[in-house]
Amino acid sequence: MQTLLDILASGVHDAKNQLFQAESLLVAAETRHGIDLGEARYAIEAAARRLNRTLTAYRLGRHEQALAIVPTVVGDVCDEVLLAQRPHLAAASKTLVVDCQVFDEWPLDRELLTDILNNAVQNAGRFARSQIRLSAGLEDGGLRLTVDDDGPGYASLPPAGGTGLKLAETLARLHVRHGRHGRLELANHGPLGGARFALWLP
């Protein structure tokens, strides 16, 4: 029997395939005409991420999604966020810097975490004056991932949450190791003067 979730999942799946086709057509056009359509491709990938996030939020809400934990090189996740976000931020004259001090693999849900960080950097980019920094380090026996910006900070703490923040919080909590759960910490007046988004994962 097809559940509502099946229908949503297959719709998202088909839409993502079509978005992939659209992106490949842009890539072909870039090659053929020697132009840069990076911003259009960014919009396509952002739409796909949004579809993913919506489906994930729905699944988590219905407790129908478990995490997919794989050993992950933390630097690789940072590199992928950098690759996805830097050109877009550069187009708005903003700089993204990555500072990764973790060199070992860490057991985590790679795709969900990458998505959450992409979203956090994207949000930071909207409010930053000129700088965003993504950093990774070890703290209290866990992994700490931080996104700082030099914008005005969150208007209120805790902020009136959107899907992204809510999802980040749930994702962090679902990471469990040696009996400890992950957590999300939001703060103002971070090292760059603006908002700080921090995930701590066991």
Binding site: A9, H13, D14, V27, G75, D104, E105
Partner: protein, 448 residues
């Protein structure tokens, strides 16, 4: 863009596997954009197997959903089963499905990486570069492993584990170490290595590794306990269900094994290794309809050259003989040519002769009698001994039958065959003799 001079991907042969033409085109565009010159296509599972077998590509980009009830994961499993994929070649799963991540996080057999659509050429390059770097890091180890120089391979892994360059790969190093230890026959070490991984994180594949190692050490109850945890926690991890079934069979619980396999086989109708295991469990249970259907399916549809072996034909013939379908059994047995039979191991020759003696007595009895001295002297597998026992009981050859029964009951896998042995004796009204044999074996065990 990425198509620079000295591009490492320019000279690589790519194979794109996808059943959707538009998706294939999209993948080709991306591959060409990163500099790939030779990009081949496969439009379905069989086509992909054929191309890879005839001329293995360097890099395979395979969609997870292949249509016709096939998945990229099945293709990967089949490629590994027939050793068509070298450690040096790259298998990248491409998926729009978030559900594939669940598969990758659970199972032991994983692709080199997976990438979720849509993705840019730059992202693909980033991922491929990483795989290339990892394979370079493990290159000397792969060579030793392929030569089955396990001690040397483990030595190399130990060096890598302690090196600075090995830091990003510590889980992969431990995983390779455990697999190599298992392959070299050191199940105790493998168990310890899997437990070291679990000390860091509760990966289902590592827990299954513990169960596999315990099974190899014949610690059946412990192995069962571990695998039950995996099956309960990750119901879609079908290899774990297979392992549970194998353990159940060895524990003498073929009915539970069959129940587990029945359920999983329904969801993976084209996994023929699983069908074979199902047939084995069903035969031990005396469920000949299931055994026959499963083996007939294997022989008709496990289509890779060399996939169907003489033991598969014997398994089908066995189910037919037990179901008293002797003409069908004869037909099955005679698909094996005389020259083929001559080249079989003694184990398989024994099974063949025993089954033929029941299916076609006028042809088979003489062959069976000719093997009799060997059957009394040689080491045989429990499957062959059960075949010989069945025929000896039917022919009234008590000496030969009791000899097989005794050795079956003394064997390491005695639990597996106990119920079948007992019911064969009962079938011929020899329950008392069976009990006496049982006592004799028990007494021998006490004296030792």
């Amino acid at each position: 863009m990425a198509a620079l001079n000295g591009n490492p991907y320019a000279k690589k042969r790519f194979l794109v596997v996808d059943d959707q033409p538009t998706a294939r085109d999209a993948l080709r565009t991306i591959a060409q954009n990163i500099g790939a010159f030779a990009v081949e296509f496969a439009s379905n599972y069989q086509d992909a197997l054929y191309r890879i077998r005839n001329n293995a590509p360097d890099i395979i980009l395979c969609d997870y959903m292949l249509g016709e009830g096939r998945s990229g994961q099945q293709l990967l499993e089949e490629l590994r089963r027939f050793e068509l994929l070298s450690d040096e070649s790259i298998f990248m799963m491409v998926t729009g499905e978030q559900s594939y991540e669940q598969v990758v996080s659970a199972v032991e057999l994983v692709p080199d990486d997976y990438i979720i659509k849509p993705f840019s050429p730059d992202k693909l390059v980033l991922r491929l570069d990483r795989i290339v770097a990892r394979k370079a890091f493990f290159a000397d180890y792969y060579r030793e492993k392929r030569k089955q120089e396990y001690a040397r391979a483990l030595e190399l892994l130990a060096q890598k584990r302690d090196s600075e360059a090995g830091r990003p790969y510590r889980f992969e190093i431990l995983r390779q170490q455990a697999e190599t230890e298992l392959a070299s026959g050191d199940a105790e070490r493998a168990e310890a290595t899997y437990r070291a991984i679990l000390g860091n994180y509760e990966f289902p594949w590592a827990r299954a590794g513990v169960a596999r190692s315990l099974h190899k050490q014949e610690k059946l109850a412990e192995a069962r306990e571990e695998i039950e945890r995996v099956v309960a926690g990750t119901p879609n991890y079908f290899d774990a269900a297979d392992l549970k079934a194998s353990i159940c069979i060895d524990q003498g619980e073929a009915d539970e094994a069959q129940r587990v396999l029945d359920e999983v086989a329904k969801r993976t109708p084209r996994n023929y290794l699983r069908k074979r295991l199902l047939a084995e469990a069903a035969t031990l249970n005396g469920d000949m309809d299931t055994a026959r259907a499963a083996m007939a399916d294997v022989i008709a549809n496990d289509s890779m050259p060399g996939a169907v072996q003489p033991e598969d034909r014997l398994a089908l013939a066995r189910s037919q003989v037990i179901a008293n379908e002797l003409i069908a059994a004869e037909k099955t047995l005679l698909t094996l040519k005389e020259s083929e039979v001559q080249n079989l191991t003694l184990d398989l020759q024994a099974g063949f002769a025993a089954l033929l003696a029941l299916a076609v007595p006028e042809r088979g009895k003489a062959r069976f009698a000719g093997l009799r001295p060997a059957l009394l002297a040689a080491e045989l597998s429990s499957t062959a001994r059960l075949d010989v026992l069945r025929t000896a009981l039917r022919l009234g050859d008590h000496e030969l039958a009791d000899h097989q029964a005794e050795l079956l009951m003394e064997a390491d896998d005695a639990k597996k065959t106990f119920a079948s042995t007992r019911s064969l004796y009962a079938l011929h009204g020899r329950e008392v003799d069976f009990r006496n044999l049982q006592k004799k074996v028990a007494l021998k065990r006490i004296k030792h």
